[in-house]
C-alpha cells in the first residue's frame, strides 16, 4: 500500500489585480476572495480582523470556515453579502466584483444569497408563515406566488403544520428550520450559515446538518458555513479553511485536514475529536524501558486512504502484538484513525518496530514502554 498520499491542496493564490486571468481554474469559482482585509476602529486603536484572505469557493460545495472565537470568521462570511464592508481587497461572486454595488444592486444580490444565524433571528411578532413570507413580500412578489412558495418551503423543512405558530412557541431546531425556509425562499444560489448549529443540542444539530446536506444535494446550493465545532465540518463539509487571527492558516479537503492537521490551531481545534491516550493506560506506560522484555507501545495514525490491513501489519511487526486502544472513522470515503499497539518482540528494537510499522500507517511514534 502506498503511504504517500497525493496532496492536492490548493496553493495559496497570490493577490493581484489581474488574478482571474492568471488562474483560469479559479475564475470559475462561485465566490472568490482576493486579498480581503478588514480593520475595525477599536477602543485601543484599529483592530485588524481580516488580513489578506484569498479563497476560492466552488459552485455546489459545502465549504467550512473554522477558527476560534475572534479569528475573523463572522467578519469573513458577512463580507459575502456585504453585511460587512471589507476595508481592502475584492470579492467576486460569479466573477462579478460586488464592491461598488449600490443599495438596489445589494438588495438584488442578497436575494440570491440566503443566510441563517446562530440565534435564528426570526421576527418574534410574526408567525412562522409570515416570517418565511417576509423576503417575498418586500420583494413585491404577488400573493398567490408567495403562498405557493411559502407552502413549498415549509414542507421542505417539515414545518407545514406549524405555520400559525409564533417563534417563541417553537424549539431551537424548529426555529432554525424556519430560518432555513426563510433563507431559501428566493431560490438563492448560495447559503451562508453563521454558527447555525452552535445554539442547538447534539441531536438537533444532526437533524439540521442533515437538512443542509439534503438541500446541498437536491438544490445544488453552494453552502458556506462558519463554526467553531470541528464535528460540524467533519459531518457535512467538503473543504475547510482554518482561520486564526484574521489569516488562513490551513486549508484543504476535510479528510486531509482531519487526518493530518499541519497547523497548531487546527490540531487544537481537532483535539476533542481525536483519541488521546486513555487514562487507564497512562499508568502502564513508561518513558524508558524497565527491562529488556518491556513491550514497545506504538501509536499508528491513519490519515487517509484504505482501512489498515491488520494481518499484514502484525506479521511485519512479528512477536506478540496487542491492541490497546484505537478506532477508525470515515470522512469523505477516507479511513482516518489511530491504533495504539503494544509489541513484545525478542529481536527487534523500538526504532526498527517503528520503521516497519511506518509501511502501514502514515504516522508512527513510539509512545513509551509497557510495564
Amino acid at each position: 500500500m502506498n503511504v504517500a498520499i497525493a496532496r492536492e491542496r490548493l496553493e495559496q493564490p497570490q493577490p493581484s489585480a489581474n488574478h482571474t486571468e492568471l488562474h483560469p481554474e479559479l475564475s470559475h469559482a462561485h465566490v472568490r476572495f482576493i486579498g480581503i482585509g478588514k480593520t475595525y476602529d477599536g477602543r485601543q486603536g484599529p483592530v485588524e480582523a481580516l488580513k489578506g484572505i484569498d479563497l476560492a469557493i466552488q459552485r455546489g460545495e459545502i465549504f467550512g470556515i473554522i477558527g476560534r472565537s475572534g479569528a475573523g470568521k463572522s467578519s469573513l462570511i458577512r463580507t459575502i453579502n456585504r453585511l460587512e464592508q471589507p476595508s481592502s481587497g475584492r470579492i467576486l461572486i460569479d466573477q462579478v466584483d460586488i464592491a461598488g454595488f449600490n443599495e438596489d444592486q445589494l438588495v438584488a444580490l442578497r436575494r440570491k444569497i440566503g443566510m441563517i444565524f446562530q440565534h435564528f433571528n426570526l421576527m418574534s411578532a410574526k408567525t412562522v408563515w409570515q416570517n418565511v413570507e417576509l423576503p417575498l413580500k418586500v420583494a413585491g412578489v404577488p400573493k398567490l406566488q408567495r403562498e405557493q412558495k411559502v407552502r413549498e418551503l415549509l414542507e421542505l423543512v417539515g414545518l407545514q403544520d406549524k405555520h400559525t405558530a409564533y417563534p417563541a412557541q417553537l424549539s431551537g431546531g424548529q426555529k432554525q428550520r424556519v430560518g432555513i425556509a426563510r433563507a431559501l425562499v428566493h431560490d438563492p444560489a448560495i447559503l451562508l450559515c453563521d454558527e447555525a448549529t452552535s445554539a442547538l443540542d447534539p441531536e438537533t444539530t444532526q437533524s439540521i446538518l442533515g437538512l443542509l446536506r439534503e438541500i446541498n444535494q437536491r438544490l445544488g446550493l453552494t453552502i458556506i458555513l462558519i463554526t467553531h465545532e470541528m464535528a460540524v465540518i467533519r459531518d457535512i463539509c467538503h473543504r475547510v479553511v482554518v482561520l486564526e487571527q484574521g489569516r488562513v492558516v490551513e486549508q484543504g479537503q476535510v479528510w486531509q485536514v482531519f487526518g493530518d492537521p499541519q497547523h497548531e490551531v487546527s490540531k487544537t481545534l481537532l483535539a476533542p475529536l481525536q483519541d488521546t491516550l486513555p487514562e487507564a493506560l497512562q499508568g502502564r506506560i513508561t518513558a524508558q524501558p524497565l527491562s529488556a522484555q518491556s513491550s514497545v507501545i506504538l501509536r499508528l495514525r491513519f490519515t487517509g486512504g484504505q482501512e489498515p490491513d491488520l494481518g499484514a501489519l502484525f506479521s511485519a511487526l512479528g512477536g506478540q502484538v496487542r491492541l490497546l486502544h484505537g478506532g477508525v472513522e470515515h470522512i469523505q470515503g477516507h479511513a482516518l484513525g489511530q491504533l495504539l499497539l503494544s509489541v513484545t518482540s525478542t529481536s527487534l528494537g523500538a526504532d526498527e518496530l517503528r520503521k516497519r510499522a511506518k509501511q502501514w500507517a502514515q504516522h508512527v511514534e513510539v509512545v513509551g514502554y509497557g510495564i
Binding site: 453579502n81 453585511l83 443599495e103 438588495v107 438584488a108 442578497r110 436575494r111 444569497i113 440566503g114 443566510m115 444565524f117 440565534h119 433571528n121 426570526l122 421576527m123 418574534s124 411578532a125 410574526k126 417576509l134 423576503p135 413580500k137 418586500v138 420583494a139 409564533y166 417563534p167 417563541a168 426563510r182 433563507a183 425562499v185 428566493h186 451562508l192
Partner: protein, 214 residues
C-alpha cells in the same frame, strides 16, 4: 354642584388628554424612528441630525409642565386664538407629550435585537422595509406600554392646565375643592381620576400583553 358640571369635566379631560396624546402618537413615532435610525450604527446614520433632534427633545422634556404652559401662552394664542379653555390647553399638552412619548418609544425601538435588522438586510429588505416590517412590529408592545404611560401623565398634566382655566376635572377640583373647600366634590373628582387611570392602565397592559408574542 350638579352632575352635568362633573360630566362636562370628564368630557373636557377626555378631550384634552385624547387630542394631545393622539397628536403625540402621530408625531412621536416618526420622531422616535428618526432618533433611533439616525443614531450611531443606525440604518440612516446621521450624527448631526441625531444630536440636534436629541437636544431639541431634551429641551422640552426638561421644562416642568406648569412653566412650559405659561411660557407657551403667546404661541398658544397664535395657534388657537385664545389662552383659555380646552383647546388652549391642548397646545402645551401636545408639546409636552410628544417628546415625552418619543423618548419612551425610542427606547422600545432601540431594544429591537440588532440580529433581526441584520437578518432583514440579509434577506434583501431595503431600509424603509426594515422600519415598517421589523422595527415597528417588534417594538409595538413596548410602544403601546409607552403610550399608556403618556396617557396617564397627560391626565396629570391636564389637571394642572385646569388650574389655570383650561376646564376639565382639574379645574373642578381646583375651583370647588380648593377655593370653596367642598370636600365632597374633591373626593368625587379623585375617585373619577383613579377610575380613569386604572381603566387606561389596565387596557394598555392588556393590549401590550396581547401584542407581545415573545
Amino acid at each position: 354642584m350638579g352632575f352635568d358640571r362633573l360630566w362636562q369635566g370628564v368630557i373636557d379631560t377626555f378631550l384634552m388628554v385624547g387630542v394631545s396624546s393622539l397628536i403625540a402618537l402621530i408625531l412621536g413615532i416618526p420622531l422616535a424612528v428618526i432618533l433611533v435610525t439616525s443614531g450611531k450604527g443606525g440604518i440612516y446614520e446621521a450624527p448631526t441630525l441625531n444630536k440636534a433632534l436629541g437636544a431639541f427633545v431634551n429641551l422640552f422634556r426638561s421644562i416642568p409642565f406648569l412653566i412650559l404652559m405659561v411660557a407657551l401662552i403667546p404661541f398658544t394664542r397664535l395657534i388657537v386664538g385664545t389662552t383659555y379653555g380646552v383647546w388652549a390647553a391642548v397646545v402645551p399638552l401636545t408639546i409636552a407629550a410628544t417628546p415625552f412619548f418619543a423618548r419612551i418609544a425610542e427606547v422600545s425601538l432601540r431594544e429591537v435585537d440588532h440580529g433581526l435588522i441584520e437578518a432583514a438586510q440579509a434577506m434583501g429588505c431595503k431600509r424603509h422595509h426594515i422600519i415598517w416590517h421589523v422595527l415597528l412590529p417588534e417594538a409595538l408592545p413596548g410602544i403601546v406600554g409607552g403610550f399608556t404611560i403618556t396617557l396617564v401623565t397627560m391626565i396629570n398634566s391636564s389637571a394642572m392646565a385646569g388650574a389655570i382655566g383650561a376646564g376639565g376635572l382639574g379645574d373642578i377640583a381646583y375651583r370647588y375643592g380648593y377655593q370653596r373647600f367642598d370636600s365632597q366634590v374633591m373626593l368625587t373628582v379623585i375617585v373619577l381620576l383613579v377610575i380613569l387611570v386604572a381603566v387606561i392602565q389596565l387596557g394598555g397592559d392588556r393590549l401590550a400583553l396581547a401584542l407581545n408574542k415573545r
